[in-house]
C-alpha cells in the first residue's frame, strides 16, 4: 500500500512538473516578453493559421528576419487552427485584448471594417500610401468607404488543369488546351472513356473544384452582386450558363457526378491525380498536390476557357490579408511589421517557398523567375501570375454578407430538376434583394 502511495505521489509530481504549472497562474505574458517590454521594446502579437510542417518554418523565418532587422519591435508569432482562429479573434476583440496582427480572409475585410472589428490602416498610415505595391484588385477588396482595413498578403486564381497524356491518347494537341466553352465540351467528349456503364475517365465536369458562381463570373466578367448590393442574377445570360451546367450533369448522370463529387469533398483520393479525370478547374496551387502526390503526371495549365472568342477569360480568386484587430495596443508597430510582411523580400521568400501567388506584384513577378522552382513549377507559377490579369475577387457585399444561403439552394433545386433556370434566378434575385433591403 505504502509503495503504491509513494508511486502515486511521485507520478503526480512528475506530471505537474512536466505540465505547465503556469496553467494555475494568471496573466498572459511570458517572462521574456515582460523583460523585453521593460527595455522599451514593443511586442506585436501575430496570429496565423499557418501551422503545418511546410508553412510554419517559412512564416517563422520571416518573423525572425524582421525581429533581427531592428530593435524596437519584437513580433511573437502564434499559430491557431484554420477557422477557429477567427472565433478566438472575435472573442478577444470583444474582451478588448486582441492580438496586434491577424491573418484574415480578404473577402470579408471590408465587412470587418464596417463592423468596427479592424483598425483603419488609412487612419494610421496617413498619406504614406503603399497601395501601389499590390495587385489593384486585391487592394480594392480591403477598402470600406475609401479606407483600407488590411494589407493583402497572398492570393490565388482558378485555372484549367489538363492531362497531357490523355490529350495525346485521344489525338488532341497537348499544347492546345480548350480556349472556349465549345472547345471545352468538344474535348471533354473526346476524353470520356467508358467501360460498359461505368466511366473509366471523365473528360471534364464544370462543377468539380469550383461553383456555379465562377462560371457566371466567367461569362459576365463581374460578380452578380456588387459592393452596394445591386443584384443582377435574373438575366438571360445567367440562365444560359445554368442550363449549360445542367447539360453536363444530365449527360454524365447524377450518380456519376455525385460519386466523383464525394471524392473531391473528402480531400482524399483525387481523381485528377490518378488520371480518371482529363481536365479540371482548380486553384493554381493545386500544382503542389500534383508535385507531392503524383510527380509523374504529365499535365498542363491554361486560363479558364472563355464563353466565346473575345468574351474574356475571367477567373476568380481569393486570398488573405494582414489586419489589425480593433483594440490592439500597438497599432503603429503592428503596421510597421505588416509593411515588412508585404514588402518584396518577405513576399518573394513566401512565394517561392510556398508556391503561393503573393499580393506584392513585384515579388510575384520575381518569384516567377525563381531558380528554386522545377520546370513545371515555373510554368505553373508564370501562368498563374499572368492569369491575375483576368482574375477578379468577389468580396462579400457589406449589406448582404450571407447572400449565398439564399442563392445556393435555388441553383441546387434547378440542378436537381425541380425548377427552371429562369425560376431559380428569379427567386434568388428577389430573395437577395429583400435581404439587401432588410439590412439597409
Amino acid at each position: 500500500m505504502v509503495s503504491w502511495k509513494k508511486t502515486g505521489v511521485a507520478l503526480g509530481g512528475a506530471l505537474l512538473m512536466l505540465s505547465g504549472c503556469a496553467g494555475f497562474t494568471t496573466g498572459d505574458e511570458t517572462e521574456e516578453e515582460t523583460a523585453l517590454e521593460e527595455e522599451g521594446v514593443e511586442i506585436v502579437d501575430f496570429w496565423t493559421f499557418w501551422g503545418s510542417e511546410t508553412r510554419r518554418p517559412i512564416i517563422d523565418k520571416i518573423v525572425a528576419d524582421f525581429n533581427e532587422s531592428q530593435d524596437e519591435i519584437e513580433v511573437v508569432h502564434s499559430y491557431y487552427p484554420w477557422g477557429d482562429i477567427w472565433t478566438k479573434e472575435l472573442a478577444a476583440i470583444g474582451a478588448g485584448d486582441p492580438p496586434d496582427v491577424v491573418i484574415n480572409d480578404i473577402n470579408a475585410t471590408a465587412l470587418r471594417g464596417m463592423e468596427g472589428q479592424a483598425e483603419s490602416l488609412t487612419a494610421i498610415m496617413g498619406n504614406n500610401d503603399i497601395s501601389e505595391r499590390f495587385y489593384p484588385e486585391l487592394w480594392e477588396a480591403t477598402l470600406y468607404e475609401g479606407e483600407s482595413y488590411g494589407l493583402p498578403f497572398n492570393t490565388d486564381t482558378r485555372m484549367l488543369f489538363y492531362n497531357k497524356d490523355a490529350f495525346e491518347e485521344v489525338g488532341l494537341d497537348p499544347e492546345a488546351p480548350p480556349a472556349t466553352w465549345a472547345e471545352l465540351e468538344e474535348f471533354a467528349l473526346m476524353l470520356d472513356e467508358k467501360a460498359g456503364e461505368e466511366y473509366e475517365r471523365i473528360g471534364f465536369y464544370p462543377l468539380w473544384g469550383v461553383g456555379y458562381d465562377v462560371w457566371l463570373t466567367n461569362l459576365n466578367g463581374e460578380n452578380y452582386i456588387d459592393q452596394e448590393g445591386n443584384v443582377s442574377l435574373a438575366t438571360e445570360e445567367n440562365a444560359e450558363v445554368l442550363n449549360w451546367l445542367k447539360s453536363w450533369r444530365d449527360r454524365l448522370g447524377a450518380d456519376t457526378v455525385d460519386s466523383f463529387k464525394a471524392k473531391f469533398e473528402s480531400n482524399q483520393g483525387h481523381p485528377f491525380l490518378s488520371g480518371e479525370l482529363g481536365m479540371m478547374i482548380a486553384n493554381m496551387n493545386f500544382y503542389t498536390q500534383i508535385r507531392d502526390y503524383a510527380p509523374d503526371l504529365n499535365f498542363g495549365v491554361a486560363p479558364i476557357p472563355e464563353y466565346e472568342p473575345g468574351n474574356g477569360f475571367t477567373s476568380w480568386g481569393g486570398g488573405f490579408v494582414a489586419e489589425i484587430p480593433k483594440g490592439s495596443d500597438s497599432p503603429e508597430a503592428a503596421l510597421e511589421f505588416m509593411k515588412y510582411l508585404t514588402d518584396v523580400e518577405a513576399q518573394t521568400y513566401w512565394a517561392v517557398q510556398n508556391f503561393d501567388i503573393v499580393a506584392n506584384r513585384e515579388a510575384a513577378e520575381l518569384a516567377a523567375q525563381s531558380e528554386e522552382f522545377s520546370e513545371d513549377g515555373r510554368m505553373v507559377y508564370e501562368a498563374g501570375t499572368e492569369n491575375m490579369e483576368h482574375t477578379i475577387l468577389t468580396p462579400v457585399p457589406t449589406v448582404a454578407p450571407d447572400f449565398y444561403t439564399l442563392v445556393n439552394p435555388e441553383v441546387d433545386e434547378f440542378l436537381l430538376g425541380e425548377q427552371t433556370a429562369e425560376e431559380a434566378l428569379q427567386n434568388a434575385q428577389e430573395a437577395v434583394e429583400a435581404l439587401v433591403e432588410q439590412n439597409q
Partner: protein, 296 residues
Amino acid sequence: MIDQRVAAKERTRERYMDNVNNRKQLLRWFNFILLAAGSLLFLSPLWWMISTSLKSMVEIMTPPTTVFPQDWLWSNYARTLEAAPFARYAANTIVITIIVVAGNVLANSFIAYGFAKIRFKGKGFLFAVVLSTMMIPGFVTLVPQYILYAKLGWLNSYYPLIIPAFFGSAFFIFLLRQFYMTIPNELIEAAKMEGASHFYIWRKIGIPLTKPALATVAIFSFNGAWNDFLGPLLYLNDSDLYTLQIGLQVFKGQVSTQWNYLMAGSLLVLLPVIVLFFVFQKYFIQGMNLQSGSKE
C-alpha cells in the same frame, strides 16, 4: 407408487430444466453472433483510422481507396510524435482531465442529491433553471463568457477549463437526480430517524448506491475534458499550456490535411479513453452478476 410418481415428476422437471438451460444456452450464442456481426459495423471506422495512419500520403491521395496499406509505414507514428511536444501536451491534458473529473463527480453528485431527496421551497423553479442552461446554444454565450473570464483575469490559465466543473453541469445533475430518485425514501427516512444528517446520508447511502451512475459521469466527463478542443483553444495562449487536441491540429491544413499523421495522433490520443472505459466497466459488471450469476 408414490416413489414412481415422484421420480416421474423429477424426470419431467429435469427435462424441463434441461430444456430451459438449452434454450438459455442457445440464446446466449444467438446474442453472441448478433453482437459479433454488429461489431464489424462498429469497428469499421477504427480500422479505417488504423489503416490510414499506416499509409503514405501518396497512397491516400491516389484512388482507389485501399482497405489495407500497401506498405505498413510504422514510422508514421514516430514522425507524428516528433511534430509537436506531445509529452508536454499529454501531461497538461492529464492534469486538466483529472481535476475536471474529480470536480464533476463530486459537485454533481452533491447537487443532484439535493434536487432528488430534499424538499425545499423553489426547488421546481431552480430545477427549471438548471435545465434551461442546456437550452441556449453555446455560440451566443461564447463571446460574453470569454469577456467574463477575461475580466476575472483567468485568460491563459486553466481556470476557465476546470473551475466550472466544481459548480455542477445541468446534464450530470439531471442524470444523477434520476438515479437518486430510485433510492427508496424509506431508507433515507430510517437513517434520519437515527439522527443522520443529509450530508451523512449522501456520503454513506447516496454515493455507494449510485456507483454505476457515478462511473458513467466519470467516463463522460473524462471524455469531455480529454477531447475538449474549443475550450483550450479559446482560453490558452501560451503554447506551453496546450492540450493534446490542440496539438493534433498541426496536421490539419487549409488546403491539405496530413491524414496519416492526423489519424496516428488521433489513435494515440484515443487509446487512454478506451483503456479507461475497459477498466471502469467493473462498475457495470457487478450488477450483471446479480442478475444472471445464479447460473455460473
